[in-house]
Amino acid sequence: MRYIFLLLAAGGLAWMATLMATADAKIRKRLYRRLDAKRLADQLHNDSLQKALSDAGFSISAKRFNLFRLLIILTILVTELGSSFITGERSVWPLFMVFLIWFTTTPRPMTLGWFVYTKLKQRRERQKNRELIALIRLHEQNKRGQNLKFDVFLKRVANHFEFLGKELIALSERVTDDGLEDAIRWFTSLFPDHPFAGQIGTILLATEQLPSEEAVPYLEQESHTIARISSDLYAERWNTLSTLALIVNATPSFAMFFLVIALVLYHITSIQNLLF
């Protein structure tokens, strides 16, 4: 109770001091400008966090995410530290929790948050791969059916793509403005270190000039090749995982061996202590 009164008195004094200090209209205006909510919120923006969030597929802005993080941390600090201040107990739990929140949400390298963001980014890239494969199939359909020009075709199908839609519209614009070759060079540069994006670029470039009777079998064959590449990638990914999985899955048995040996040793030593 005493603390509450103390806090109330301090708050009242501070309030009165601000009232007196801002009696002058000029100073008050300056203070309000400095305390403008929008300006304060703008300082929460963070470029690397924004990039990590949008790469991972979250539509939340970095500003809002930071605000949310800050609010949680402040709530934890105020409630925990307030209660420990009143009861007089000291503990490191609130600080540890704050550290944990920072550790799981920051995009800095070698943290848990970084790991999560990279995993989500890889997932999103896999979703984009799906659409790249589908693009080749649609291109083949187009060649077989209406045989539209490449930029018209792109603009027409771009809506069907959930993740690549914007890139495809940009590609279509570039094809009209800069010509096919530059546009496709730009498109493949969007996917660095990609297993088959470069190949897809070459396929698009090669088939654009061909008449449809020749283009269709070529495209069919290439889709088979890409399917095989993806399949190989899948097998490779799982094979690297399988060793790790084997080690992890063998731990319970080893731990049990260890437990039994430790228990027997403990038992023997305790009996020895009893006897001698």
């Binding site: 199939r137 069907h160 039994v260 430790a262």
Partner: protein
């Protein structure tokens, strides 16, 4: 003494459980029959909210689409939210009355919200894996009806799918979307939803082919379906190969660990007698920590084995 305490606990818990039950009933009636009992204004406010605008509802709805037994758009997501809220409140009330503990609110949230959500996620993941295999059946049936308009073909396919197929309802919903869309965007949204519930390359391909067929005629649809089917069968072989590679890890996770633990503890117990063995495990520090470690890693290994034994049919 303990018995008396238990009885008192039971009697005190009874009205609380009754209260919670009654509130669940009221909420249920309100949601299901849109009863007139609660005031008109509140009702109007509840039903004019655009629930789809909220990310949480959309997310839950996406999960429920496969995982719920009786799915209804948006409604089952709201029901799930209500259930979680009530469960958390009930757990909190029980904890607050019987075990005065500082962190009971956190525990209530974990028990009331975390566990149902976890169950929902696990169900969704399991049925998603099953859906990726059922997609092959859908594509095979669809190529039989490929000469028809897309929505009719989808409807026939959904009718012909076996009842055990997870995709029966999603395909039906997709057929409805194809037969009665108001704008291309609407169709697009529904198609994305279908593709993202399965979440494989083949689903994306299928949806794109269908939309393309809807716009430009389904003359070449059969050929594309055949191609997707071929790709699926090829990938199925790759998945089987991977599974063979992982056989050791799967067997370890599912049953070898358990067998090893049983044999070891049996042989140790026959050497030390069971009572000594249990006392050693439960009353010594090293026994407790190591047995907890064994239990934790056993559960992890089991889940890893489960995941490895049924990989998604995808690249």
């Amino acid at each position: 003494m303990i018995k008396l305490d238990l009885i008192r606990l039971f009697i005190m818990a009874l009205p609380l459980v009754g209260l919670i039950w009654a509130s669940i009933l009221i909420a249920d009636v309100q949601m299901q029959k849109r009863s007139v009992r609660i005031g008109y204004k509140l009702r109007r406010r509840l039903f004019t909210v655009k629930y789809r605008d909220y990310g949480l509802i959309r997310h839950l709805d996406r999960l429920m689409f496969l995982a719920a037994r009786h799915y209804r758009p948006v409604e089952s997501a709201i029901r799930f939210c209500l259930f979680c809220l009530l469960a958390a409140a009930a757990v909190f009330a029980l904890l607050a009355t019987f075990i005065p503990w500082q962190r009971s609110s956190a525990l209530a949230v974990i028990l009331g919200v975390g566990i149902p959500y976890l169950i929902l996620r696990i169900r969704h993941a399991e049925r998603g894996v099953k859906a990726s295999y059922d997609l092959a059946e859908v594509i095979k049936l669809l190529s039989r009806h490929a000469h028809l308009p897309v929505h009719t073909a989808l409807k026939r396919t959904a009718e012909n799918l076996s009842d055990r197929s997870v995709l029966k309802r999603p395909v039906m919903v997709l057929a409805d979307a194809f037969s009665s869309y108001g704008s291309p965007d609407e169709l697009q949204q529904e198609a994305f939803r279908f593709a993202s519930t399965i979440g494989t390359t083949f689903a994306t391909q299928l949806v794109m082919e269908l939309i393309h067929a809807e716009r430009d005629g389904s003359k070449h649809l059969n050929q594309s379906l055949k191609f997707i089917n071929e790709a699926i069968e090829g990938q199925r072989n790759a998945v089987l190969g991977v599974k063979k590679e992982n056989q050791d890890a799967i067997a370890l996770g599912i049953w070898v660990n358990l067998a090893v633990i049983a044999i070891l503890s049996w042989s140790t117990a026959s050497f030390l007698t069971w009572s000594t063995f249990f006392r050693l495990i439960t009353q010594t520090e090293i026994g407790v920590t190591l047995s907890l470690a064994v239990a934790g890693s056993l559960v992890t290994a089991f889940f890893i084995g489960r995941v490895l034994s049924r990989p998604k049919l995808d690249y």
